[in-house]
């Protein structure tokens, strides 16, 4: 093949390629693809900022996740316990609760508390002592089922726990789940209780037998477990309970009193987190905007040239902003992937080892990082707009 033919071939291939791809020579994707090294620092800043914001949100959300997971059983049932030195619920209060419309069952319960590992430290968790039929009824309401081992033998120092609790306590069947050596426990068990079965399902729950509880802990307050015919009506029934019982004698442990009260106490922490995140996003946006501005300054001759040959400033702004948007979008996506990978590793190596709950794929964390690319792009757009408005192509191209 001759030189001339080869030469023409180059041009024809370029022409065919450009038309076939319908690619514009000023395409932001082409720019980003060919300037990876130049754009890498900005992308890394975005990745790090996304990771910072997302990981803070994920870790803080682990508090809420812990609360909702540990106390999720209160969506299925409400526990009514005697106050102060009483060992049982006053019959009048029991009757008033029974009279509330929509109540399905009132189950007599006893039991003990075991401790769970949470972000708050050791947290007491009720091991309910109910009859076999009541236990099966509660399991069915909670959508839980026995997945390993067996149910406790009446009178034996045995318990069955949800798999989440088993992971939290890093237990195996046969291990002691509670006993006299428990630290930070509330009304713990004076005898070592062994794990004999594992329950699987959405609700963390723990059972022993009333025969064992009554024999080993005769002074543990007897409580009531109240369920609703319509599970969705349980919050309203719990509120009604608070209205009808003598609250100096009885405490109602419902989803609202447990979870929502904890959430309220955490409001200040969430506010601080939101402020920190807002500051991080703002600082990162400013930093990235400045980086974008520096890149723009480095490319001023390029933009001046394009302006001189008649490309509208609005078109130049569109190209510059599109390039920034591509970098920030890729940076954000990479940041989320990095966050998910690192949080999954942290869950494995840090949180789960300590029995703590964390969701590495937290949607809320994702939502908190969404403003980052938008703010960076908006900031870059504003600064580039100002620079382009003042652009004098001759001054830059001919350095006059």
């Amino acid at each position: 093949m001759g030189m001339v033919e080869r030469t023409e071939g180059h041009v024809e291939r370029s022409a065919q390629g450009a038309v076939a791809r319908n690619s514009h020579p000023l395409s932001p994707l082409t720019y980003c693809r060919r300037n990876i090294r130049r754009l890498l620092p900005m992308a890394v800043v975005i990745v790090l900022s996304v990771f910072l914001v997302a990981s803070v949100v994920t870790i803080v959300d682990s508090v809420d996740l812990t609360v909702t997971t540990v106390y999720n059983y209160t969506r299925v049932l409400t526990v009514v316990i005697p106050q102060r030195s009483s060992l049982a619920i006053d019959p009048d209060d029991r009757n008033r609760i029974a009279g509330i419309p929509g109540v399905d069952r009132i189950i007599d319960g006893s039991g003990f508390f075991m401790s769970l590992n949470t972000v708050f430290g050791a947290t007491p968790f009720l091991v309910m002592a109910v009859t076999d039929s009541s236990r099966n009824y509660i399991l069915q309401r909670a959508n839980d089922h026995l997945s390993a081992g067996r149910m406790p033998v009446p009178g034996a120092a045995e318990a069955v726990l949800s798999d989440g609790i088993v992971r939290n306590k890093r237990l195996r069947i046969g291990d002691v789940v509670a006993g006299p050596d428990d630290q930070g426990g509330l009304a713990g068990c004076p005898l070592p209780v062994r794990l004999v079965g594992i329950v699987t399902g959405p609700t963390w729950i723990a059972f022993t037998t009333p025969e064992f509880a009554n024999a080993a802990m005769p002074l543990f307050p007897r409580h009531l477990i109240v369920t609703a015919k319509d599970q969705d009506a349980l919050p309203a029934i719990s509120s009604r309970m608070l209205a009808v019982v003598n609250r100096s004698k009885v405490q109602v442990l419902s989803y609202r009193t447990l979870v929502e009260q904890i959430r309220t106490t955490l409001d200040s922490m969430y506010l601080i987190m939101s402020l920190v995140n807002a500051m991080v996003i703002l600082v990162v946006a400013l930093m990235s905007g400045m980086l974008s501005n520096i890149y723009f300054t480095q490319r001023l001759t390029e933009f001046a040239l394009l302006s001189a040959i008649g490309i509208r400033r609005s078109t130049l702004l569109w190209h510059a902003v599109s390039e920034t948007a591509v970098v920030t979008s890729i940076g954000w996506l990479a940041g989320m992937i990095v966050t998910w990978i690192l949080m999954a590793l942290m869950k494995e190596s840090v949180f789960e080892r300590r029995g703590m709950l964390i969701n590495p794929h937290d949607v809320m964390a994702l939502a908190y990082t969404v403003p980052i690319p938008f703010i960076i792009t908006a900031f870059a757009m504003a600064t580039i707009f100002i620079r382009l408005a003042k652009l004098d192509p001759v001054t830059i191209i001919e350095r006059r």
């Binding site: 030469t7 041009v11 022409a15 450009a18 082409t30 720019y31 001759t301 040959i309 509208r312 001919e398």
Partner: protein, 245 residues
């Protein structure tokens, strides 16, 4: 192309580019420098026009004013009857895109684009027609072999030829070349000027230079000094004149 509303129909000089009483002053603090003083010039619609003068004579400033890259401080610049001195920035940009081509002193190319893509930057729309035209222009200018090369792989002369191809792509009515040979050696300088000169059949080519030898083939040469247009000359009259640009 539309004509500016401020232009009286009787004043129109169809297809011509003209400057009337044009002055251009640069301000640097309290210091005022008059780059152009009362320049009056009328240019034809086709041909090869040279603008010569020593450094600081205002030849480049005249080019910028005629092309709408600079607004004159005083006077009018008319292109096809439209007064560029009063046109909006967006109108001037559109005019440069549709009617003018530019070759600057430095062979400015976008470093991240191939030579082919740099040439296509001169097209208002990158469509099949523009690609065919780019292929033809590059072939005609003998730079087809550089199509896929990046600017960093090209010599100064090769880059400037790519710039010429970009300027010609859109079949402009006027090509403005500001010292296009200043950064080139003698051989490449002649190559570039020859390419520009060949365009005289299609439109007007205005080449600013201080090197009389580069304008041997020009139809006419405008001589500038101290911001004033001294008058028209011919290549034979300016041959061998060293203006020390």
């Amino acid at each position: 192309m539309s004509v500016g509303s401020e232009t009286d129909a009787s004043e129109r000089i169809t297809d011509d580019l003209s400057a009337a009483g044009v002055g251009l002053a640069y301000h640097d603090g309290d210091t005022r420098t008059d780059a152009l003083i009362d320049v009056n010039v009328t240019l034809p619609s086709t041909g090869f026009i040279g603008v010569m003068g020593p450094s600081g004579s205002g030849k480049s400033s005249l080019l910028y004013v005629l092309s709408g890259l600079k607004r004159p401080t005083t006077g009018d610049v008319r292109y096809r009857g439209e007064n560029l001195a009063r046109a909006s920035s967006s109108r001037l940009t559109a005019l440069r895109r549709a009617h003018f081509g530019f070759v600057f002193q430095q062979p400015w190319l976008l470093g991240w684009q191939t030579a082919w893509e740099n040439v296509l930057d001169g097209a208002p729309d990158v469509d099949e027609r523009a690609c065919e035209r780019a292929a033809r222009v590059m072939k005609d200018l003998g730079i087809a072999a550089f199509a896929r090369k990046m600017p960093s792989q090209l010599s100064g002369g090769e880059k400037q030829r790519v710039c010429v191809a970009r300027a010609m792509l859109n079949r402009p009515k006027v090509i403005f070349a500001d010292e296009p040979t200043a950064s080139l050696d003698h051989h490449n300088g002649h190559l570039v000027v020859d390419m520009l000169a060949r365009y005289r059949q299609e439109g007007l080519v205005i080449v600013v230079t201080h090197d009389a030898e580069m304008l041997q083939d020009a139809d006419r040469i405008l001589v500038m000094r101290d911001g004033r247009a001294l008058g028209w000359s011919t290549p034979s009259q300016t041959a061998g004149v060293a203006l020390g640009g």
